[in-house]
């Protein structure tokens, strides 16, 4: 199997991608949204003409709400980002935006999140990430408890986790670049996307490891074939289904990205990337790593 033969190339490719993702993460940083930070987001559409950003900025300064960002949306709308606003501040803002009722506008959405709610959500997100990671690690350990030759079961688990980290890191790296150039924000859906990628991509790795497990159980084969040959054979047997199962999910995700609601666009894109790299890694990273580990063991 060529994948096993050239395993070092594929493993290096994955390492480079992960390093690039970390690099972009440190270079651009995460653009945390109001879900976690607290703040207000007002979306408005003007009826006839949209005042320019410069004129609006001038009048908005008089409100003393701190820094206010205006982001044009559509032909006649703005998204206004500010600190969290109470009821009367909200009314003041709308009045200012309408230039004292001269420019008629409608407010399509308003979202004001107090800092304490944001802190609470951050806390919840962290707990969920930790719990899901733990649960998946336990699950992997459980699934591979019976295979121990020639590689002990915990090593399967560790490789599955390394693969998972790879699958999550690359979409995050992509998201960071997107958020830098297109203003996508790290919101609740981002966290959900990361967690869903964990669930989706581990299942792919498990399908292939399952096959290796099955072929290893067949003792007669083991006697005749080397470990790397068995892994290669298992890959040959399972890569088509691995690709086609992910392909159907990617199909629906692309439909969601191109035609779905605006709110879930980046979510769908991240999941697509996660799904793609999840499948890639279970074929081109997890199995080669297994063989690599076995080779190291032999050398000792």
């Amino acid at each position: 199997m060529f994948i096993i033969k050239y395993k070092k190339i594929f493993i290096s490719l994955s390492i480079i991608l992960v390093i690039l993702s970390f690099f972009s993460l440190f270079l651009f940083g995460l653009n945390v949204g109001i879900d976690f930070k607290g703040g207000a987001l007002t979306e408005i559409v003007y009826k006839n003409v949209r005042p320019t950003q410069i004129t609006l900025n001038k009048t908005l300064e008089t409100l003393n709400f701190g820094v206010i960002f205006l982001q044009p949306t559509g032909d006649l709308g703005y998204i206004v980002k500010s600190r969290d606003l109470n009821d009367s501040e909200h009314a003041q803002l709308l009045k200012t935006l309408s230039q004292g009722d001269v420019a008629t506008l409608t407010e399509t959405s308003f979202n004001s999140i107090g800092p304490s709610v944001g802190r609470e959500l951050t806390r919840k997100a962290i707990i969920a990430v930790v719990l899901i990671s733990l649960a998946i690690i336990c699950f992997i350990a459980f699934a591979f408890r019976k295979v121990s030759k020639p590689i002990s079961s915990w090593k399967y688990g560790i490789i599955a986790i390394v693969t998972l980290l790879h699958d999550v890191t690359i979409p995050i790296g992509l998201f960071v670049i997107l958020s830098h150039y297109y203003g996508a924000e790290l919101d609740t859906l981002f966290v959900v996307a990361v967690l869903t990628i964990l669930g989706l991509s581990v299942s792919d790795t498990i399908v292939i490891f399952d096959r290796i497990r099955e072929n290893l159980k067949n003792e007669a084969q083991t006697a005749k074939m080397n470990f790397d040959e068995i892994v290669g054979k298992s890959l040959e047997q399972s890569y088509v289904r691995s690709i086609s199962t992910s392909f159907t999910v990617i199909l629906v995700l692309l439909a969601l990205f191109f035609f779905g609601p605006v709110t879930t666009k980046y979510f769908a894109l991240m999941l697509t990337a996660g799904m793609f790299f999840g499948t890639y890694s279970s074929i081109f990273l997890a199995s080669p790593l297994l063989v690599l580990v076995e080779e190291w063991q032999k050398k000792k």
Binding site: S244, A255, L256, F259, G260
Partner: protein, 453 residues
């Protein structure tokens, strides 16, 4: 063999019935919806705020004065009061939920109010803000430090608030409030009648405090501080605080709809305009339909006859899921729709695993019926293992999430579980009833996949 075909037919009829149910109960699909029987009108999709438009308010409840064992009860009482209050304004299906504080969510008790269709935030806030907070306080024991200030004239002002301490008796034990007029002074006053628990509490408070003052606080300020002459066992209290007749009338109105057991403050607000929601629904439906068609196309082109069977079982899967969304009901949000759309892709997963297995068994020289049987039993382990991780993720997300995440976790989790059922039961029964097509060359072609002939 006939039995298998009959079972397959029964499943087809069941699937069709579920599909018809979904169709008939959906106003946008069914052109004669208005003339349907009432039964079919009872099951619309329930749309979340981000799809239907409306307001989402998060309040923080200050439970510092409540004993820790009683917090849960107070929060439930608070929810009931706000629910009554909101219902009074004729909003359809308001959702008022309590979010308990604790390890996971931090230490605050919160009340979350969802008002579908209400896009005037100010109106919504006013509506809830008018719910009065009624508290009864007793004189602090002697020796309690008191806050006093000395004003410019050298007069000492003792802060009234520090003289009183809270009791368990609050607005939650109020049964009703009525407007009365004092017989002697003709001044308007408000008469309160407590419920059973409140009556007992009030009797105890008055008994313990004969000769002392009991303060009645409204919205955090004392309105009346009568001196107790004797124990009052009948659960009646009077607030007489220099009201004008109009003020008294207004207060009675506010108290009648319920009084708050604990003070609340607004933390976060969100309003979504109706048009934004509508376009999100339209986009979600479009994405779902296109996603479904793409998957269908792929299945039939790549997996031929089994692919067609998988499409059938996918149709039944979609019908069951949509029917469950209506029956349970599941509140659909944009993220929830995304969960459903993704679950369509995942639903095919199990089918593909099975088909690939069948193909392998065919290659190793088995007959179609043998290969089908073996394919199922060998694929089951992989199907189970690969779905468990998704179910774990969905459960934890559902447990911890805000309403937005919950919607996604619920639809994805339901999708994954039902897809396992549809792959194992429905696809299997359909496929095994297809063995009558025999073992000929055409049959083997139909059971192969991909580019092979």
């Amino acid at each position: 063999m006939w039995r298998k075909i009959i079972v397959a037919l029964i499943i087809l009829v069941f699937g069709a019935a579920v599909g018809i149910f979904v169709f008939k109960t959906e106003a946008k699909l069914n052109k004669s919806f208005e003339t349907q029987k009432a039964f079919f009108k009872k099951f619309p999709f329930r749309l979340g705020l981000d799809l239907s438009g409306g307001s989402h308010l998060i309040y923080k409840a200050d439970v510092s004065a409540v004993e820790s064992g009683e917090v849960s009860n107070s929060m439930d009482a608070l929810r009931d009061v706000i629910e009554r209050r909101v219902n009074l304004f004729g909003i359809s299906e308001p959702v008022v939920t309590v979010q308990r504080g604790g390890f996971v969510s931090g230490a605050t008790e919160q009340l979350i109010v969802d008002l579908p269709g209400v896009t005037d935030l100010k109106l919504a806030i006013d509506m809830i803000g008018q719910t009065p907070l009624l508290e009864f306080k007793i004189q602090a024991p002697e020796g309690t430090p008191q806050n006093a200030t000395v004003d410019a004239d050298g007069k000492v002002n003792i802060d009234l608030n520090s003289q009183f301490v809270g009791t368990e008796l609050t607005g939650r034990y109020l049964k009703r409030a009525t407007l009365e007029f004092d017989q002697n002074t003709k001044e308007p006053r408000v008469s309160l009648q407590f419920n059973d628990v409140g009556t007992k509490l009030f009797a105890q408070i008055t008994k313990d405090n004969v000769g002392k003052m009991v303060a009645i606080y409204l919205d955090g300020a004392p309105v009346s501080t009568p001196v107790v002459n004797e124990a009052i066992p009948n659960g009646q209290a009077i607030i007489s605080g220099n009201f004008t007749p109009n003020e008294a009338k207004l207060l009675v109105g506010r108290l009648s709809s319920g009084a708050l057991p604990v003070p609340i403050t607004l933390l976060s607000t969100q309003t979504i305009g109706a048009t934004l929601g509508e376009s999100a629904v339209a986009a979600g439906v479009k994405a779902a339909v296109i996603g479904f068609l793409l998957v269908t196309l792929f299945l039939i082109l790549w997996y031929r006859l089994p692919g067609l069977v998988a499409v059938l079982s996918l149709c039944i899967f979609v019908a069951i899921i949509l029917a469950l969304f209506k029956l349970l009901p599941v509140t659909l949000t944009a993220a929830g729709m995304a969960g459903f759309i993704i679950s369509m892709g995942v639903a095919v997963d199990a089918n593909v695993l099975i088909f690939e297995r069948i193909k392998e068994e065919l290659r190793s020289g088995r007959t179609i019926s043998e290969a089908t049987k073996l394919g199922f039993s060998r694929a089951w382990l992989s199907i189970r293992d690969s779905n468990i991780s998704n179910i774990i993720t969905a459960i934890i997300l559902f447990w911890f999430g805000t309403s937005l995440i919950k919607g996604f976790a619920l639809t994805l989790g339901m999708g994954v579980i039902i897809s396992m059922f549809s792959a194992i039961m429905i696809t299997r029964i359909f496929l095994s009833s297809l063995i009558f097509i025999g073992e000929g060359k055409v049959a083997r072609f139909l059971f192969s996949s991909g580019l092979s002939l």
